[in-house]
Every structure is written in C-alpha cells, then in structure tokens.
C-alpha cells in the first residue's frame, strides 16, 4: 500500500471570481522507502501541492489518500499519525530546550497534558540520535543556529512516528554543507526507518543526486521520473524553461551512491 496517493487531484485556490488552478488531475504515488523531490520554478505551485497533500489546504477536486484512506474524511489526529511536516522556517520557540521541542512530536500519541511515557522518551532519544542532535537536547532552541534548529525540526517530525514525511524547502536558510547533510539524512531515513519522504526543494544538484524520483512541476503539468530519466529526456531543462541554459550530467563510477551516479555537473550558459 502506498503511503501517499492522489486521485485526479486538482490544486489551487478558491476565489469568488473563478478558481485559480495550479495543477489539475494529478495521479501521484509515493511508497515507503523512497525519497522524492518536487522541483519547479518559483510560483508554479510546489508549496500549494505540499500544503494540499499535508491536508493544510483543501483540494479543488480529487482526493488525497494516506495509507489507502481518504484524508479528507480523517480527524486531525488521524492525519497527524500518518504524516508529519517540516517547514522552511524553524520556529524560535523561545524558552524550550531541544529535547522539549523534539518531544512535541509525540503530541498525537500522548495524554491530555502531553506527558511522556517511557516509549515516548525512547522515541525522542532515538530521533535525536538519528539526526545527530543529541548534544542539542539541553540547549535553548533560541540559542541555536538555523541549521541546528532545522535538524531538531526533522527529529521532531521523526518522533511523530508517521510513515510519510513532507518537507517544504527545509534547506532554504542553510549553508551548502548543511544542505548536503540534510538531504543525506533524509535519504538515510527512507532506507533505515522505511519512511516515505517528499521534499520540495530548489537544490537541483542535491535533488538529482539523492532523490529516487523527481516530480517536475511546470505550467503544462507534472512530469514524474527518475533523476537519470528526467536528465536524459530533457524534461528537467524544460521545467525550468530558460533559454540558452542547459543541464549537463556527469557519470561518475566512483560515486558512493551506486546506481545514483547521475548528478548535475554544471549549468552551462551559452551567453558567456
């Protein structure tokens, strides 16, 4: 069964004078153990798609299925047990320490006061170790860097214990090594913890390198394919639709990620 599935999903915004449609009739599937990247130019509707999939926004038409069940018919708590999110900006949450922040992920599983049971503590401790943030447990969240905070937010999402994780440009405020680290971490989670991870990103090269599948969004619709395939058939260049630019892939046999050895080598500008 797919962690996430959409049927004839049309996304956009309701307006009094006609709806604004960003994409229509999407039939998408995302299974456990795979890392999928959503790529597309600014304003094409990546975040809207993500918000619709996360049930934070109603679709214009069609359905979102989580574990085979229709999300629109679920209670907020049932949705929270099936999917978790990480947003672009990590909150400042003034006086919480790292541990308390991550423990908030246990919300859908804890009692009315949010008290933590032994298994909750085990989950939190595990998540902190999984993202390599154990040393942040007792530090004030407000004193951490953006990268550290985002790590904690990913750990928080992990403790929510859901099969599906949705991330909206989680690396936007991070420096390059931290971006690399984040994508690597997400990939590791799909492999080690059997999660389905969907990440909306502008990091073309990282997405090409680490994702199992890419969902390319442009005005004419959605194109789905493996990184190698979308590079080969030119749909990547088409998605970003800039004249005089081309993407070139480099095939490196020694790349550590075997079978994923296509990566963006250079963006070539023929005007230079």
């Amino acid at each position: 069964m797919m962690a996430l599935e959409t049927r004839a999903l049309t996304i956009g915004y309701r307006r009094r004078r006609g709806n604004i449609v960003l994409a229509r009739d999407l039939d998408l599937q995302l299974g456990r153990g795979s890392l999928v990247g959503i790529l597309g130019a600014n304003g094409v509707g990546k975040s809207t798609l993500l918000r619709t999939l996360a049930c934070m926004q109603a679709p214009l038409a069609g359905q979102v299925l989580l574990d085979g069940e229709e999300a629109a018919r679920m209670l907020p708590l049932d949705v929270a047990r099936r999917l978790c999110i990480v947003l672009t900006a990590a909150p400042q949450a003034s006086l919480l320490n790292g541990y308390a922040l991550v423990a908030l992920g246990r919300y859908p599983h804890s009692d009315w006061l949010g008290r933590l049971s032994k298994s909750d503590h085990a989950q939190v401790a595990w998540a902190l170790q999984a993202v390599g943030a154990t040393d942040l447990a007792e530090q004030r969240v407000s004193q951490l860097s953006d990268g550290q905070r985002q790590k904690l937010m990913i750990a928080r999402a992990l403790t929510q214990d859901c099969p599906l994780m949705l991330l909206d440009e989680p690396t936007a405020f991070l420096d390059y090594p931290r971006r690399l680290e984040t994508l690597r971490l997400l990939r590791r989670l799909t492999r080690d913890a059997d999660r389905a991870v969907l990440v909306c990103t502008h990091e073309l090269d990282l997405a090409l390198r680490y994702c199992d599948e890419l969902w390319l969004m442009n005005e004419s619709g959605m194109k789905v394919g493996s990184p190698a395939a979308v590079l080969r058939d030119g749909s990547l260049s088409e998605t970003f639709g800039i004249d005089n630019f081309s993407f070139a892939a480099n095939h490196n046999k020694n790349d550590r990620l075997r079978g994923r050895s296509y990566r963006l080598w250079a963006v070539q500008d023929s005007n230079l």
Partner: protein, 361 residues
C-alpha cells in the same frame, strides 16, 4: 510504524530532560509567597490586626475586638479573595493571548472585551438620564450594582461578537487586528460621551477606570468565583494545544490540534476571565501583560504545564501586593489600583526582559 529504536538507550538518562534548565520548584515558592501575601492583606490596612486574631476569626471564632471580626469578614476577606481571583484571571488570560497570538505584547484586553465593558459603563454613567445620575450620586449599592451590570453586559456582548468572528476567520493575526480596531472604535465612542458629559459624571466614570478590588460584596463573590474557576478550567484544558502552538499554527495543525476548537476554547476562556474581572473590578491594567513575562523569567520555561500554574500563583501574588500597596497600610489614603499596578509592574517587567535579553546574547 517506526522500527523500535535500535541503539541501546538508557531511558533514565532521558526522562525529565524536557524540563532541563527550567525551575519548576519555584512554583512552591510562589505558592508560599501567595499565602504570605494573603495573610498580610487580611492583617494590614487602615487598622492593623494581629495575625493570630485573623486566624481565629477565619476559623469561625471571635476576635478580641468585635470591630476586628467585622473588618476581617465583611471587608478584608472579600477584598482579598477578589484580588486573588482577579490576579489569577488576568495572569492566565494574558498568557493565553501571548501564546495564541505569538506576540509578547498581547494582553487580555486585545480582544476588546474590556473596551466593551467600558462602553457599557460609560453609557450608564455618562449617557443615562437623571435616574442613573441620582443612583450614582448617592454612591449606593444600587449604583454599584448598575455599574457591574453595565460592564458585564458590555463585556458579554463583545465576547459574543468576538466568538462569532473567531469561529469564522482562519488565523490569529486577523483576530488581533480586529480586536485592536474594535478597541479604538469604542475608545472614540467613550471620548464622545465624555466630551458631552457633565463634570461630576466624568469623575464617576474616571473612578471606575482606576480599578478597585473593594467593590465586590460577599454576595457577589460567589458569582465572580464561579466564572473565574470556569475560565481557569477551560484554560487548563488547552495546555497541550498551547504547547503545540509555540511552534506555529501550521505546525500545531499538523500535530493534530483541532485549530477551530482550540481557538474558540482560548478565546472563550479569555473572554470569561476578562469580562468577569472587568465587570467587578474595573479595567485593571498591566497585571495581564506583566505576569506571564515574570513567570517565564522565573520558571525559565515556555512549557504551559509549568506556566499555567505559575501565572495563577504569580497573578494572585501581584494582585494581592498591588492591593496592599494601594491601601497604604497605616494611612487613610487609598491610591487608585491602576496607578499601583503600573508603577510596581513596569520596572519588574523591564528587569525580567533585560535579564532575558542579556542571557540570550
């Protein structure tokens, strides 16, 4: 769904870590301080009464001096209990507003409930015909009751309006701006009434805006207690969603917080607490904005499981202390309550905020 944690984890090393750095024991200190202030508030005033006499009176006995029994039971006990209830209510509603709007400047009055109350009072005091004027001129019980009723009615009407709006709009910022604008609107109407009112009526209105804990009789006290306890219980039921709201409304929703219900719960609790206090004590400034900051500073935590009991205790302490100082024990002068709360509270908040800023940098 997640495979069980695979690394060996010593749980004892992790349990309770969510409170690391916080100081929950200070809650006990706050409770003790509240008891101390409670006794002082009964003992001190224009006449000081020995502590053992007060305890004897409270236990149902008679004090050596019959006048003392009378003073304690008829005047100081209702006043003290009113101060405690008002402090608790304002502290907690301030906390609810600051967390919900994620704004450190939010206070109980941002929803416009107390503006509604002040309009009710202004209409009665300034706008009413001679009947109202005669009632008030005598400063008698009926006049007091009329004021309480007018304030209560104004607050309740505003509360209904705010709840209707809160059920329909999707986010906090809009609610905040609407509440503020409503406040300005009402302030303008009150100014208009003041502009055309007779000077002695204006004085009566201004007296109400000073705030006071001594207007509540022992007959009215159960009503105030009932509403405040209901409001506090409703607030306590929101503790878990409030913690999730520390992240953001989007994150809270993704954690399964039913946002509409939670928003209505928070707004209803605040409106109940604020309208009860404003109706019985007038618009008491400052406690609502100051107490949550003092609590966060003292307990060094944002966790509402600590902050809610903290603001209840600290709110009571601050209100009792303000009431005590306003009486100027040993003298016959009584200062306006709002003068004392701000004079006393502003420096404390400045200190707390500066200390936090230093700690963070």
């Amino acid at each position: 769904m997640l495979r069980p944690p695979r690394l060996p984890i010593v749980l004892s090393a992790w349990q309770g870590r969510e409170y690391a750095g916080a100081k929950p024991l200070l809650l006990v200190a706050l409770a003790l301080l509240m008891c101390l202030l409670l006794m002082l508030s009964l003992a001190l005033g224009s006449a000081s009464i020995p502590l053992e006499q007060i305890i004897a009176t409270l236990l149902g006995g008679e004090a050596e001096n019959a006048a003392w029994t009378n003073i304690v039971l008829k005047f100081r006990l209702p006043k003290t209990l009113t101060a405690m209830l008002a402090g608790m209510a304002l502290g907690v509603s301030g906390l609810l507003m600051q967390t919900y709007f994620r704004n450190p400047l939010a206070e109980p009055f941002v929803l416009g409930v107390s503006s509604g109350a002040s309009l009710g009072v202004a209409l009665v005091v300034l706008g009413a015909g001679t009947a109202g004027g005669i009632l008030l001129a005598g400063q008698n019980l009926a006049g007091d009751l009329l004021l309480t009723a007018a304030a209560g009615l104004g607050a309740a009407l505003t509360m209904t309006l705010v709840l209707l709006v809160a059920a329909r709009i999707p986010n906090g910022v809009t609610l905040l701006i609407l509440g503020l604008m409503f406040g300005y609107l009402v302030a303008a109407l009150v100014s208009l009434l003041l502009y055309f009112a007779l000077p002695e009526r204006i004085q009566a209105y201004i007296n109400w805006t000073f705030g006071s804990f001594s207007g509540v009789t022992s007959q009215q006290l159960p009503i105030l207690t009932l509403i405040v306890v209901a409001g506090l219980l409703l607030a306590a039921a929101q503790v878990k969603p409030l913690n999730a709201l520390l992240l953001s409304e989007d994150y809270a929703r993704s954690l399964g917080v039913p946002m509409r219900q939670t928003r209505l719960g928070i707004v209803l609790a605040t409106a109940l607490l604020v309208s009860a206090v404003t109706a019985f004590c007038g618009p008491i400034a400052f406690i609502g904005i100051a107490v949550p900051h003092i609590c966060r500073g003292l307990l060094s935590s944002s966790d509402h499981r600590l902050l809610l009991p903290g603001t209840i205790l600290a709110g009571a302490c601050v209100a009792l202390a303000a009431g005590l100082i306003a009486e100027l024990p040993g003298s016959n002068i009584v200062l306006p309550l709002n003068v004392v709360t701000a004079l006393m509270g502003a420096p404390v908040v400045m200190l707390v905020v500066l200390r936090q800023a230093r700690g963070l940098s």
